[in-house]
Amino acid sequence: MNRDEILSDLRMIMEDVFDCTDFDLSEQTTAAEIEAWDSLSHIRLVVAIERHFQIKFSSMDFRYWNKVGDIVTSVVEKGTKAG
């Protein structure tokens, strides 16, 4: 999967987790820009991403997540390792 496809899947996951569709999503988007994305729903998002892409993040991965692009990078890295 390339970065655009992962981003598109992330949007779908977020719509389901946050139960809203009215947000813009790009690699530069941060949690602060999406109203429903708070610390509590973040955990559900992580679980949903892991389930969707069938990957497992390590605690090191989360530390460098500052924007959506960082999540995409983590998924790319995990996917590469898995594949």
């Binding site: 139960d19 708070d38 955990i43």
Partner: protein, 493 residues
């Protein structure tokens, strides 16, 4: 030394003058010396405790950064974190822990030091170093960041000591991050007129909130909270709401002063409040109230806990919320009232989390205004009631007040209509109306300071208009300000 005492004014003017007179590379030394002096003014020998914490965190982080073996890194980290937390536990919690153990032993009929007499009197009389909780949390965060490898160890011990002891924030925060604060200290300082006037405006605004709004509310809330048996339900409900406003005026006033003072030295501190009265859920409230502390807890307690337990799904979040807010409550002190305060937040945050989807769907069907008003009322009532535990001297007092609060509503409605004078309160009904006026002013002022455009519009107005506004507030402070020895509420934490 309180920010609104005359001695602070002279102290500050001296430091400010010296800061601008010395060469740039010595400025941090002026701030460090001033901060040490500021601390020693209230407790000369207690300054040794923050110094121990500074040395522990700085040397610990330097060793962690230098060490290559993961096992040794881990050992140094746990040793450093253990010393920092050990100091906090010793001063803040050890007495209560030992007392509880002693009571437990007595209850189990085991031989105990505390049977018959009050145990550990020396520990009970131990004075907690000022700002201890804030210093420990900032040094702990630094150690964690270096251990995780997310930020490097800082080479300059002087900058690090200035960061932890910086006098505007030492006693009640905001809880700053070393890696955001220290680069500002190291940067070249240049006097900036706009920034300096902004700092003065912000300091004066905090001054108004503390000396007028909070200080005028204090005798009124004291009257209710110290004699709840003399009041009926609706008054006590009003008292809980008034205490919420008093705490906000007091703590956000202190933060405004700290931020304003730091701006005068070219330093930017973290915002601690973002219009919390706009919150429509408890979750949102904690993103707007005491932000630097809640962010600390979410980053270093909630996130690691919830992420490591994420197999449990949504229950991982609920469990982590309870642990986080139990600790957040305990952070305020080893008292059952603070534990209940924290747990109440956890209960409501969990309910909100579990009902997120239903609430969002329901909100889509209702008019937005109705959703907002309902949310505002819910947050206000819930947070005010939970603050009864925060304010009460004991759990029994809090429960007595709550029982009375919900018992006498119908009987007291006539009292409210009649605007009976409040017993144990020296002011009359006009004082109460004045307080309402001050509260409205405070809310308008906070809205103003939270919008850069409004500040720009104001600054674009004629000089005479701006000075009329400044003079209006100066007259209010001079006329209604209370400059007693009452410290900021959060100084005791």
């Amino acid at each position: 030394m309180l920010f609104y005492s005359p001695s602070f004014l002279w102290f500050f003017l001296g430091v400010y003058a010296l800061f601008h007179m010395v060469p740039g590379r010595w400025r941090w030394m002026v701030l460090l010396a001033a901060s040490l002096l500021f601390y020693m003014f209230d407790s000369p020998f207690m300054v040794l405790i923050p110094l121990v914490l500074i040395l522990t965190a700085w040397f610990g982080a330097s060793l962690i950064a230098r060490e290559r073996k993961p096992g040794l890194k881990k050992m140094v980290f746990f040793l450093g974190a253990g010393i920092i937390l050990g100091v906090l536990v010793f001063y803040k919690y050890l007495y209560v822990i030992l007392l509880s153990c002693s009571h437990l032993c007595s209850a189990l009929n085991l031989q105990s030091q505390g049977s018959g007499t009050e145990p550990f009197p020396w520990l009970q009389e131990l004075m907690i170093p000022l700002g201890l909780s804030y210093i420990t949390f900032q040094s702990l965060a630094y150690l964690i960041e270096v251990y995780r490898g997310t930020n490097p160890a800082l080479p300059h011990l002087g900058y690090f000591a200035t960061f932890l002891l910086f006098f505007p924030k030492i006693f009640a925060g905001p809880v700053e991050r070393a890696h955001l604060f220290i680069p500002q200290l190291a940067a070249v300082y240049q006097f900036d007129y706009q920034r300096s006037t902004q700092g003065i405006r912000r300091f004066c605004w905090g001054f108004f909130k503390k000396t007028v709004v909070s200080a005028q509310l204090l005798p009124l809330t004291d009257a209710f909270f110290n004699h709840p048996e003399d009041f009926s339900g609706i008054y006590l409900m009003a008292a809980a709401f008034l205490f919420l406003l008093q705490l906000y005026a007091d703590f956000s006033g202190y933060t405004d002063m700290a931020i304003g003072l730091a701006q005068l030295f070219g330093l930017k501190l973290t915002e601690n409040f973002r219009l919390p009265y706009r919150a429509t859920t408890t979750t949102e409230l904690w993103r707007r109230w005491h932000i630097s502390l809640s962010t600390w807890f979410f980053e270093y307690v909630f996130n690691p806990l919830a992420l490591s337990a994420r197999k449990l799904g949504k229950w991982a979040v609920v469990l982590s919320v309870f642990v986080t807010f139990l600790l957040l409550g305990l952070w305020h002190g080893a008292n059952l009232t603070f534990i209940v305060f924290g747990l109440l937040q956890a209960v409501f945050l969990s309910i909100e989390f579990l009902s997120q989807k239903i609430r969002r769907r329901l909100a889509r069907r209702l008019p937005p205004l109705l959703t907002k008003v309902t949310g505002f009322l819910y947050v206000t009532v819930f947070f005010s009631v939970s603050l009864v535990f925060f304010r009460a001297a004991s759990f029994e007092d809090a429960m007595a007040m709550l029982q009375r609060m919900f018992y006498g509503i119908p009987a007291s409605f006539n009292d409210l209509i009649g605007l009976e004078p409040v017993s144990h309160y020296e002011g009359d009904r006009y004082n109460v109306l004045l307080i309402v006026f001050f509260i409205v002013l405070m809310i308008f002022g906070d809205e103003f300071f939270n919008h850069d455009n409004r500040i720009k519009d104001f600054l674009a107005r004629p000089l005479i208009f701006r000075w009329m506004v400044y003079c209006f507030f100066l007259v209010l402070i001079a006329w209604f300000g209370v400059f007693g020895t009452e410290a900021f509420i959060y100084f005791r934490f």
